[in-house]
Symmetry: C2
Amino acid sequence: MTATTIDGRAVAAKVRAEVARDVAALPAPPGLATVLVGDDPASAVYVRSKRRQCVEAGMLDLHRHLPGDIEQSAAAAVVDRLADDPRVTAILLQLPLPPQLDAAALIDRIPPEKDVDGLTESSAGRLALGRPGLRPCTPTGVLALLDEHGVALAGAHAVVVGRSDLVGKPMAQLLLGRDATVTVCHSRTRDLAATCRQADVLVVAAGVPHLVTANAVRPGATVIDVGIHRTNAGLCGDVDAGSVRAVAGALTPVPGGVGPMTIAMLLRNTVAAARAH
Amino acid sequence: MTATTIDGRAVAAKVRAEVARDVAALPAPPGLATVLVGDDPASAVYVRSKRRQCVEAGMLDLHRHLPGDIEQSAAAAVVDRLADDPRVTAILLQLPLPPQLDAAALIDRIPPEKDVDGLTESSAGRLALGRPGLRPCTPTGVLALLDEHGVALAGAHAVVVGRSDLVGKPMAQLLLGRDATVTVCHSRTRDLAATCRQADVLVVAAGVPHLVTANAVRPGATVIDVGIHRTNAGLCGDVDAGSVRAVAGALTPVPGGVGPMTIAMLLRNTVAAARAH
């Protein structure tokens, strides 16, 4: 068997088109305030992509670039002004922040209604309690890929590898909310391959290149690779695609799988925030 | 093999004694405001036990009994006054509430610092993000039983049956925070027995009498029964103790297992809330 490729670029393009239609139907354009602190090159690239796609979808780009040596109180004041600004319907604080800043404290100044990254304490609580709210973009992007490819989740066994606040933990809660039986594995899991082999749906977000190989995949399983790593041989994921492709039923490529979905879901969250505004 | 009995009454008594010592060492006694709405007999029994144990531990009993037909705004005003009252270091809204009241909205008026049931959106968010905060009492009671009996959690496979906001979901997060590999099962799980048989630690909080029988238990596993049901043959749990006792390594009885721990952990939360006050 050779796994079907789950084309994240195609699904993301579809989501972006839907978002652009939704934006056009709104009485006023949503306004996304990306906040970049300092000059980390990778963060600058991400923020540029987010701003570009935001404009392409017809939304307002209300970007703020803050100096890398800004103090906590000054950064907090910027977030507070954005929170109060009615043109700003969505706030995204690009992570990581410079070490002198308390990221959690700054994130929690974002009103949950504008928290399009779904990272505040309120958003995490709403997800945990199954209440309506804005969800983190990468795990909702994974769900969108699974839905687009008709992967049944109710009653399926989903195994999530990784337990970060950004991906693993919210992913597990979202899959549980879709009636999957959910297992969360991590660096302390004793027999990772045996546990992963139970998965009908395997989501790997461990941050370890090629962690999951063919012996950890049940024949026919759907495998979602959230990892992305730059190596001498090019980009690779947390999944050893070379061997897994021969066993899995479907697999996301790296690049072009989950990555494009994250910004697409950010745009969708920005529309949702504007609607609730 | 016959399973060791995990004696919740004994562990709860130990916790209560620790709490009483902690209370005596505080500059002022913690004040627990239990709020009972209406005259549901089971709720009245629970609240009476909580108040009695609160007084026995040296804390202030600041109980409020509200009429069963109270309106949302009046109930909200009571919670707000308790939130503002410096003598009240802890607020517990006894559930369920009469149908005219929006329980979630009332719970979320409790400041997270006084939320000794750990049920607000903030408390759920703090747990989900692994931040310090007050945790729901039944799952922390289960952890205390496991710790008291020296059950290793790091690297163990823990299976939680049930996904309620009160027990199953926070239980899974707490076990994950203790480095267990965690699986959550529920009514949509396909082969419950096979999934449960993987557990080194099996926590059953499904609300279904005798749901888990011996064929769902790995020999030597630790089994925690959160259920309690009144039947013609007396009280029973979600676990079929008669058959499971012969397979499990350790088992909580019903009654006298998890039940007594819930109020003990409420008292411990009340001390923690007073310390943070």
